[in-house]
């Protein structure tokens, strides 16, 4: 046992390195800003970047991650030259350093996953850095790839776990590529080997990776554009195919690949394993205080119990009240440990906005507000994708080009604001821009085309805004803009709904749009209404309940097809008998003796028939899938007061299941 097991420190190294990379990126963006508006703090920024690279290199060498150490070594040498003013940190250099940061993020992810660390991107970047170090002049004088005749592109496309989940479809992207030239599939690689057993098969996990060739004189921008929406959700390398007949030697392919390679690994921080969490010492101290209280209360109660007589009843009740208070505070403190500032998500946007500005030729000022707003770690991990989508949308479709803005009498630079705040038990995140807003004409035209509204129908602002959340509704409005790129707002809404939240939009044509996402503070606890069905208990989430009422037998009508409906606030709603859906024995079947709980299932209202309401309480959600499997109509389970298990109703699922029963 003489040697120390270094693997125990790996997690800390990953966490700290990712943090260092974030810091490096921040400093690079500030530096870039400084190049445009010179200031005095540039040397300090370069130092910060150097220190980040240096500490990653040191760690990587210590743990024997040689590829990573070698890469960071050349980067460090280059940074050292910049630091000592032997090399200028111009915009081109900053772009290269940003790419290096992305590349290191990818390498870290692969190190953690235990897969080969060096790849095409890292090797070509390293070679490029080495060449620059050896002979600065030669590197600068190397011919630009874009000047060479383009025979086509070789595309390595490997989807990551989230690609399909965010609503992207490789097939659609391939179809779009094929519009530019002849698309040839060179190789199809199976990602999950050995093939998972059917029970473990996840239909939303990508199974295949592709190597494609696209032949023709095509602009790199166009090829990149096809993959724009899956950035971060895939590993992508785009290499130039030179026209062999022109006698081109393929040696230029390597350096150009570095430029073409997409940015890996940003999303990879949200990996699926348990991960770790950094907690402020204050929160831990609060927890220790609370546990101390609990121990004191316990010993006090124990004392009362040992020598109990009726005259001590008052003290017992007092003690129990104290126990309840302490337990609740303890619960709060524990939940607070999982709460992290939303800055962790917001921090990725300066870079994203910068890249989109460059690519789309727009001028954007990003304003971040309420970064210190704390949200649960699970919410934090899942809010990123919808936000990225909204930000991309805002810059791509919302904000106008500088020329168009000036023509509309607006300042040249558009404003994109991200704001987070707490609002009675919820987290509200707003993405707003002062761009063109939703353009009513094209949206209505598209809705008519899709058969969502009839021609000539009168719609107000809100109804028009709702249209963009319909499935298959593309937000592209220009004829030149290729349709079918990316995903619709319906996916954003669905993802947010899966988190128990909602997303809405306010828009004024010509003045901008505001997208508002409302999410629960935590995914771990919900308010639920416990209901009895037969001898069983089912918990209905309070957020989906509209009202509960008792019906008279004659107010229920049977409609053709076997369904039942009842009258509620000027509407006829379907009645779903929960005991039928869940197959509960001994439940109340007479409508007038049960209770109908009216719920909102994704915009549709239905009534759920239960025997009785038992009570309302906060419940901690437990997964059924952890040890068993997903059950339709059940979103999870919780531990009831008696120590038994109570099931939580998935309202959408129940409505779906009952619709299917009726159809069958």
């Amino acid at each position: 046992m003489g040697t120390v097991d270094l693997t125990q420190f790996h997690q800390v190294f990953y966490d700290e390195s990712l943090e260092a990379l974030d810091g490096m990126e921040e400093a690079l963006l500030a530096l870039e800003h400084g190049v445009q508006n010179p200031g005095a703090d540039a040397p300090e920024r370069v130092n910060a970047i150097f220190r980040a690279a240096h500490s990653i290199k040191g760690g990587a060498a210590t743990f024997g991650f040689n590829d990573l150490a070698a890469f960071t070594h050349v980067l460090e040498s280059l940074l050292d030259e910049i630091r000592s003013n032997r090399r200028a940190a111009d915009e081109e250099m900053i772009e290269l350093l940003l790419q290096a940061g992305d590349c290191m993020r990818g390498m870290l992810t692969r190190t953690r996953a235990g897969t080969p660390v060096a790849d095409l991107t890292s090797e070509s970047l390293r070679a490029r850095f080495a060449a620059m170090l050896g002979n600065p002049a030669a590197a600068a004088a190397s011919p630009q790839a874009s000047e060479l005749p383009v025979a086509g592109w070789r595309i390595h496309f490997r989807p990551r776990a989230n690609l399909l989940r965010s609503g992207n479809d490789p097939l659609r992207m391939f179809r779009e590529l094929a519009r530019y030239g002849a698309l040839v599939v060179k190789q199809v690689q199976v990602l999950q080997q050995p093939r998972p057993a059917f029970a473990e098969l996840d239909p939303t996990a990508p199974m295949l990776a592709w190597e494609l060739e696209l032949h023709g004189d095509i602009k790199r921008r166009d090829v990149e554009g096809v993959f724009e929406w899956v950035e971060g959700d895939c590993d992508l390398a785009i290499e130039l195919l030179h026209d062999r007949r022109a006698g081109e030697v393929p040696q230029d392919a390597a350096p150009s690949a570095a430029q073409d390679a997409d940015k890996p690994g940003r999303e990879a921080g949200a990996h699926t394993d348990a991960g770790s969490i950094r907690v402020g010492i204050g929160k831990v101290d609060a927890l220790i205080d609370m546990v101390g209280e609990l121990v004191i209360t316990q010993s006090m109660l124990g004392n009362i119990g040992e020598h109990f007589s009726m005259d001590r009843l008052g003290r017992l009740q007092e003690g129990l009240a104290q126990l309840e208070r302490t337990t609740r505070e303890l619960q709060d403190s524990v939940m607070r440990i999982r709460m992290l500032p939303i800055a962790a998500v917001f921090n990725r946007f300066p870079r994203l906005v910068r890249d989109l500005e460059h690519r789309l030729g727009k001028r954007v000022r990003l304003e971040l507000r309420g970064e210190t707003t704390e949200v649960d770690k699970t919410v934090l991990e899942k809010i990123g994708d919808p936000l990225v989508h909204l930000v991309r949308n805002a810059i791509d479709h919302g904000l106008e080009t500088p020329a168009a803005r000036v023509a509309a009498g607006k300042p040249e630079t558009g404003v994109l604001r991200l704001e987070a705040r707490h609002e009675d038990g919820y987290v509200v995140v707003e993405v707003s821009d002062d761009g063109g807003g939703l353009r009513h004409g094209p949206i209505i035209a598209k809705a008519v085309e899709l058969g969502l509204v009839s021609p000539g129908q009168e719609l107000d602002d809100q109804e028009i805004a709702e249209l963009i959340f319909q499935a298959g509704f593309s937000t592209n409005k220009e004829a030149t803009d290729l349709s079918g790129r990316g995903v619709g707002m319906d996916v954003v809404r669905r993802n947010v709904r899966d988190l128990g939240g909602s997303v809405n939009v306010r828009s004024r044509e010509g003045q901008g749009s505001t997208f508002t996402i409302v999410l629960p503070l935590t995914l771990a606890i919900i308010d639920g209404l416990t209901t009895a069905v037969g001898g069983e208990r089912y918990i209905i989430p309070l957020v989906s309940i509209v009202e509960s009422l008792q019906l008279k037998a004659r107010s229920v009508r049977h409609v053709a097809g076997g369904g039942e409906v009842f009258h509620f606030r000027e509407e006829w709603l379907p009645l779903v008998r929960l005991h039928e859906v869940f197959g509960c024995a001994g439940a109340e079947t007479a409508v007038e003796r049960g209770i109908v709980v009216v719920v909102d299932a994704g915009g549709r209202r239905v009534g759920l028939l239960v025997d009785a309401l038992v009570g309302q309480q906060q419940v901690v959600i437990k997964s059924l899938e952890a040890h068993y499997q997903r059950i339709e109509g059940i979103s999870g389970a919780t531990i009831a007061n008696d120590g038994g298990v109570a099931l939580i109703v998935d309202v959408d699922g129940v409505v779906r299941a009952s619709a299917r029963r009726r159809a069958a």
């Binding site: 040839v184 599939v185 060179k186 190789q187 199809v188 690689q189 199976v190 050995p194 093939r195 057993a197 059917f198 029970a199 060739e213 069983e536 859906v581 869940f582 197959g583 509960c584 437990k622 997964s623 059924l624 952890a626 040890h627 068993y628 499997q629 059950i631 339709e632 109509g633 059940i634 389970a637 531990i639 120590g643 038994g644 298990v645 109570a646 099931l647």
Partner: protein
């Protein structure tokens, strides 16, 4: 009853000539027959207690129980093997076992013994006809007249449809496409 059997309380006979790897089995009785599961996968033995039924599951999935905050499914082995279930009494036990990271409980008539099985002496399962579903057996162990059927827990937990679909799905491999 609630204590898991300790692995240390039974001396392991080391003197056995050319004995194979030892796989200790926790054995239990089901309809008069003795079954065994690998003792290393056993987490807990509990007295029978009321469960929460789960809708839309096969009858042999009795429901879920709360195991210190984890929601664990419980299977009735009698129902799983198509044997009649008369009722649950004070001898009825739930053996909580783990396969990988997943926990589940199996209900048996009573717990019997800890049996030292040696890998090289475990015999393959003969065709027992329709009496017992031999799909879930890994092998037979025992000495003399005694026969212990060793259960394949992994298979037991897998949904039946998945089994059929697995068999129907061919293996897949990388494909190079000629240009």
């Amino acid at each position: 009853m609630a204590q898991p059997p300790s692995r240390g309380n039974r001396p392991v006979p080391k003197s056995e000539p050319e004995a194979g790897k030892l796989v200790q089995q926790l054995t239990f009785i089901l309809a008069g027959e003795e079954y065994g599961i690998d003792i290393l996968s056993v987490r807990e033995i509990r007295a029978w207690s009321k469960l929460t039924r789960i809708p839309q599951t096969p009858a042999y999935v009795l429901g879920v129980l709360n195991l210190r905050g984890a929601i664990v499914p419980v299977i009735d082995l009698r129902l799983r093997f198509g044997l009649p279930r008369e009722g649950y009494d004070s001898n009825t036990v739930t053996v909580v076992a783990a396969v990988g990271n997943r926990l589940f409980g199996v209900v048996a008539d009573s717990v019997a013994d800890v049996f030292n099985a040696y890998e090289d002496r475990i015999k393959p399962v003969p065709d027992l006809g329709a009496v017992v579903d031999t799909r879930f057996l890994k092998g037979l162990a025992g000495d003399g007249e005694r026969m212990i059927m060793l259960l394949d827990l992994e298979r037991l937990m897998r949904p039946e449809e998945a089994e059929a679909l697995d068999a129907a799905m061919p293996e897949i491999a990388d494909v190079a496409v000629a240009a």
